[in-house]
Structures are given as C-alpha cells and as structure tokens.
Symmetry: C2
Subunit: 197 residues, 2 copies
Amino acid sequence: MELALLYSGGKDSSLAALVLDRFYDVELVTATFGVTDDWEHAARAAGVLGFPFDTHQLDGSVASEAVETMRADGYPRNGIQRVHEHALESVASRNVTAVADGSRRDDRVPSVSRAFAQSLEDRHGVDYLSPLAGFGRSAVDRLVAETLEVETGPSEQISKADYEGELRALLADEYGSAAVREVFPEHKQTYVRGVAE
Amino acid sequence: MELALLYSGGKDSSLAALVLDRFYDVELVTATFGVTDDWEHAARAAGVLGFPFDTHQLDGSVASEAVETMRADGYPRNGIQRVHEHALESVASRNVTAVADGSRRDDRVPSVSRAFAQSLEDRHGVDYLSPLAGFGRSAVDRLVAETLEVETGPSEQISKADYEGELRALLADEYGSAAVREVFPEHKQTYVRGVAE
C-alpha cells in the first residue's frame, strides 16, 4: 500500500516515517510553493533515512492568502494551518492508499481535527494517518534520541523544509524582515542528519 | 525501553503491538479483576504474535463501582471508562518506560483525554502512548487485513479479554442476565488468531 507522508526533514516527520515503514510503501513528500530551495534539505534527509522522496507543488494563491492572514494576525498560526490543510488536500489527490503527517499529540499548529480528517478521507477515498498523534513530546524525544541523529538550533539557522521557510521568504518580500520577526517569534527547530547506530 | 501495552487479544491492541514493536520491548499485559479466565484468550493471542505476556491484577472495588455505575446509567460507557483509567494508572506503576493502549481515533469509549494522558505521565514518570490515536477505522481495518488473521462475531461469542467480559459476569451475578442485555447492546468483537503470511 502506497502512502505519501508530508515531510520536512525534521524529527517528527522522520519518526513518523519509521513508524509507518512496517505497514506501507512510504514516500516522503515535501510540499512546496517553489519559493525557496528548502526542499533540498528534506530530500537529503530522506536519502539518509533511505526513503523515496518527491516534491509536491502547492497552489501559490494559498501562500499569498496565508501571508496576508499572518501579517494581519501578527502570528503565524492560522496561516500555517491553512497551508497544512491545503497540502493534505493536494497530496491526497496523488495515487495513494493513505496520506500522513508528523503531527504530535501536543502540537498546537498545524492541528488536524477529527472532522477534517474524516472529511478528507471521504472526499478523496484515502486514509489519513497521523502516526504520532498518540505520542507526547517526551516519548517523541526519547524515540528520536534512540533512532535518529538530529541537529537543533534557532529556526533561521536550521535547514529544514516545512512551510515556514517559504512563508518567511514571502513575508520578507512583501513586508520586509521586520514583519518576519513580528510574525515568527524565535523558536528551536531540528533537522535530521542520520540514523543512530 | 520497556513498554507495557494493555492487551485484550483483539485487533486494535494487537495492531498497536506491531506498531510499537520497532521501538520498545513490548510486553502485552491483560488487566483483570480475577473474575473470569478470559485473560487466557489474550495470553494465547499474545503467544501467536510472539510477544511476552503478563496479567495485571486490578482493584476489585473499582469493578464494583463500575458495575453500579453501568447499572444506574443503563449503558456501559462511564463504567468502562473508569476501569480503563484505573487500569492505566495501575499498569503505570510497573517498572516500565511507557504504557500504551489500543485506542483508535474514532473510539468513543474508553477515551483518554490529553489532560489525563499528561497527568498520568507526570505522576508516574512514564510516557503514555496510544499508537492508533492517529489511525481511523478504515486504516485500522486495512492494516489488520494485511497483517493479522482475525475472527469476528457478536460480543458474547468471541473470546476476548477486554474488561467487558468481567463486567458482564459481575453484572449478571448481581442483577441477572436481563441487566446485562440492558446495559450492553449487541455489537461485533474481533479476536486475533494469527499473523497473516
């Protein structure tokens, strides 16, 4: 059974891939608006983990909307949520049995409600899986420490391919770098460098 | 890392075991009030799957409370929820890194809230995992069909070791078999017979 997992190269989506690997032919898919080359970092991480990789082109108008929303809100939550739902919808149209993401139990955003999940499944005839939805932060950290080699640092220094990089770039283009600092408070990111021995 | 998974011999907890097997030393644990020998079915299923197995003795006063609750309610939901939370609390006191159950995304009861999960983890110093929390019914059915051999039938004919069997027996003892039919509407159960080739 083919499964497309939305993949950033970070620890959560990498761990999700290892969980699903027993049951599915997992393809790691990085959704991109084509704004930056950040997807290359995800492609490299996918190669290290030994999974097939592809990019998936998203609709640029969704990025523009998301940037306007984030700028108006002064925080990224709603914009990122919108992009994640669009990415799931879009990837669900691939020829797969299931789509998945790396959402954890404690994630605030993006979050996929049970209603959205059911609707996505019904409309596209796919299963939607969030294999880490039943794992808290501490369990994920332990499993990552046991199974992956990761690098941690501030968002702007860690090469990763979530939507944030492209949305930051678009926001900077439109409104300047001060707007980016206003919308995105500094936080830690991780990037996967390899599999632990 | 040692993990105790609450195990009934049914498809959900069996699939949960296969999901966790990559990351933990999984022990399948059937919680019992010592009322019936239903745990023997779970022990057999655990043997077929090739996992170590143990029973875990629950507090009989919780069973009595649950039976009174179900009888008063006229449905089993709150009684079963109470027993499941007690079972998780109790199993969390074993010498393990994590405890887990087979809850699915679409399960109504028992359900473990994020708040209960966090509290359980904090108080016992363990991780709580519900590895199927991000899997809907359709995905679970597909994965079970691919990985397990199961038997399906009405609750009272399928040999399984969830709390229901013991609570039914206690309810029948106290209030007669009519009370059992009143509290437990008929529904399908599954029991795992083996691993698919």
